[in-house]
C-alpha cells in the first residue's frame, strides 16, 4: 500500500497536498460554530449539483415540454419527486448557509487585510449564485417562473441608451420565450455551476489557505494568535457533525413539508397574457427587492439594488479599525447586529405590497442599510476597542 503511495507521490503531489491542506493544515483551535457555514454551503452545492445532474436526465428545455417534463419527473421517474424536491428546496439551505457565512465575515472582520481578495472572490460567488438560482427558476416554466424572469430581465432596460436593446439580446426574443429558456438552461447547467461557482470556489479556498482562517478573537496566527490544531480530523468531524444536524432539518422540509417552499402559482403553466397579482421572488432575493421598490425612480431603484451588493466590496477600505473582531469593538458590534436585524426587516418588507406603512418601513430600512457602510469609516474615531494587535507583533 505504501509502495503504491510512493509511486504516485513521485509523479503527483498527492501526499504533499493532503498534508499541506488537510492532515497538517493549521486551523485555529478557538473557531466557533459561525465558522461552520462555509463548509455547509459547500455541502449544499454538492446536493444541487448531484440532483441537478439527475434532473437534466429527464427535463426537457423546450417551452412546449418543460412543464410536463417536470410532472413526468414527479410522477413517473423512480424517486423523481425526491430529486426534484431536494433541488427545489436546496437553494433555501444554500442561501441560509451563505448569508450566515457572510454575516460571520461582517461581524468578525474577515474581509480585512490580508483577506480582501478572499472576500471579493466570495462576493463573486454570491453574485454567481444569485444568477444561477434566478436562471434555474425559469426552467419549470410556471407562472411565477415566466413572470419573475420577465420582471428581472426588464431591470436591465433601466440602463441608459442601450437598455432596451440589451434586454432583447439577453432574452433572445422580444419577450421571454423559447430562446430565453434554452440559454438559461445551458448557462444554469454548464457555465455557471461548474465554470463559475466551481472555479471561483477553488480560488476561494486557495486564497483562504494562503492566509489561513480568521478566528473569533481577530488576532492572526502569525501575531501570537490562538493555538492551532490540524484540520483533519478535528474540523472534518466538526464540519460533518454540523452538516448532519442542518441536513436533518433540511430533510424534514424535503420529506414532510416540501410545498412550503414551492410557490403555489408556479403549479400553473406559464401564461404570457396573465400577470399574477402578487409577483414575489424567492425569499433570498427579498431584501434587495425591497430596496429596489423603495426608490420611486426606475434607474435609481436598479442602481440602489445592485449598489447594495456592490458596496460590500468596499468593506476592506471602509472599515479602518485595526481591530478585526466585533467582540472587541463595542460600537461596531451594535451597528452590525442592527444591520442583521435590518436585513430581516427588509426581507419582510420585500414580501409585502409596496405601499402605505410597508413602503415607509422599507425606505427607512434601505437608508439604514447604506448608513451602516457610510458610518463605518468614522467609527474608529470614537470607539474604545479592546484587543488591539500589540505593537511588537505587527
Amino acid at each position: 500500500m505504501s509502495g503504491m503511495r510512493e509511486w504516485i507521490d513521485k509523479r503527483f503531489p498527492l501526499t504533499e497536498f493532503l498534508e499541506k491542506h488537510i492532515t497538517k493544515y493549521p486551523t485555529p483551535k478557538n473557531l466557533n460554530y459561525w465558522w461552520n457555514f462555509g463548509s455547509l454551503a459547500g455541502a449544499f452545492l454538492g446536493v444541487q449539483i448531484v440532483t441537478g445532474i439527475w434532473l437534466t436526465m429527464y427535463y426537457k428545455p423546450d417551452t412546449r415540454f418543460a412543464f410536463d417534463s417536470i410532472e413526468h419527473i414527479m410522477r413517473d421517474v423512480n424517486y423523481g419527486w425526491l430529486i426534484r424536491y431536494l433541488h427545489a428546496i436546496g437553494p433555501t439551505g444554500f442561501f441560509f448557509a451563505v448569508y450566515i457565512h457572510m454575516a460571520r465575515g461582517l461581524y468578525y472582520g474577515s474581509y480585512k487585510s490580508p483577506r480582501e481578495l478572499l472576500w471579493w472572490i466570495g462576493l463573486a460567488i454570491y453574485l454567481a449564485l444569485m444568477a444561477e438560482a434566478f436562471m434555474g427558476y425559469l426552467l419549470p416554466w410556471g407562472q411565477m417562473s415566466y413572470w419573475g424572469a420577465t420582471v428581472i430581465t426588464n431591470l436591465f432596460s433601466a440602463i441608459p441608451f442601450i437598455g432596451s436593446d440589451f434586454v432583447i439580446w439577453l432574452r433572445g426574443d422580444f419577450a421571454v420565450g423559447d430562446s430565453t429558456l434554452g440559454r438559461f438552461f445551458s448557462l444554469h447547467t454548464t457555465l455557471i455551476p461548474i465554470g463559475i461557482i466551481g472555479g471561483l470556489l477553488v480560488l476561494h479556498l486557495t486564497a483562504l489557505h494562503r492566509v489561513g482562517s480568521g478566528n473569533p478573537e481577530g488576532i492572526d496566527l502569525d501575531k501570537k494568535g490562538p493555538a492551532v490544531v490540524p484540520f483533519s480530523p478535528y474540523f472534518i468531524t466538526k464540519d460533518l457533525w454540523f452538516i448532519s444536524l442542518i441536513f436533518t432539518v433540511f430533510f424534514y422540509f424535503v420529506f414532510f413539508k416540501p410545498d412550503l417552499f414551492l410557490e403555489p402559482i408556479n403549479s400553473e403553466p406559464a401564461d404570457p397574457f396573465v400577470t399574477p397579482i402578487h409577483i414575489v421572488p424567492e425569499w433570498y432575493y427579498l431584501p434587495f427587492y425591497a430596496i429596489l421598490r423603495s426608490i420611486p425612480h426606475k434607474l435609481g431603484g436598479v442602481m440602489a439594488m445592485f449598489g447594495a451588493i456592490l458596496i460590500l466590496a468596499f468593506l476592506p477600505y471602509l472599515d479602518r479599525s485595526p481591530v478585526k473582531s466585533a467582540r472587541y469593538r463595542p460600537v461596531k458590534k451594535v451597528l452590525t447586529w442592527l444591520f442583521f436585524l435590518n436585513f430581516l426587516v427588509l426581507g419582510y418588507v420585500g414580501m409585502k405590497p409596496p405601499f402605505g406603512i410597508m413602503l415607509q418601513i422599507g425606505r427607512i430600512a434601505t437608508i439604514y442599510y447604506f448608513l451602516y457602510f457610510i458610518l463605518l469609516p468614522f467609527v474608529p474615531a470614537f470607539e474604545k476597542t479592546g484587543n488591539l494587535p500589540r505593537e511588537e507583533d505587527i
Binding site: W54, V77, N78, Y79, I83
Partner: protein
Amino acid sequence: MEDEKVDAMGRRDFLTITTATVGACGIGASAIPFIKAMSPTKDIIAAGVMDVDISGIKEGEFRIIMWRKQPIFILKRNSEMLEKTNRTDISSLRDPASPEERVKRPDLLVCIGICTHLGCIPSWQPEKIPGLDQPGFYCPCHGGKYDTLGRRLDGPPPENLHLVPYEFIDDSKLRIGTEKFAGYSENIRKIQELPKA
C-alpha cells in the same frame, strides 16, 4: 495509569469505526434513489401491457404491431400452414421446438419480429420463402428463413423467433406483455418458459 491509556485508545477506535460504518451506510442509502431513478420510469413500465384487437383478422392475414418499441408478428395460420408445420421433423431444426411449445392457440402465431441473427425485421412471404416450398418469413439482411411458427429453417440465425407473454382476453382481444418483461432480450422461445402475468 496505563489501563486508562489503553482504555482511551480503545474508546477512540470504537467511536471512529462505528461512525465510519454508519456514515458508509448513510452514503449507500443516499445513493439508492439516484440509482433507481435511472431505471425505466413508471409510464414505460405501464406501457408494457398492451391490448390488441384481433377480431377482424382473416385466415392467412399477417400483422405487425409495435410493443415496447419492438415489432410483434401476429399471423392467423390457415389449415395448410398448420399441416405443413405439424409435418416438420423437429430434430432437424437448429432450435428444436414442437408446435405446442411455440403457440397457445394453433391457428395464431404471436412472436417478436426481430431476426435472431443480427436484428433486422424478417419479411412475410405468404406463398413461398425464396428457395423453400412453404410460406414463412425471410430475412433480407443475411437470408435467414423461418416457418409460420417462427422456427428457424435455414440461414445464419441461431434461434427461433423469440416469444412475448400474451393472453386471450376474449375472442377479440389479445393482451401482450407484462409490466417487467423486456422483450427480445429475454430470449424466450418456448411458451412454457414465458413468465406468468
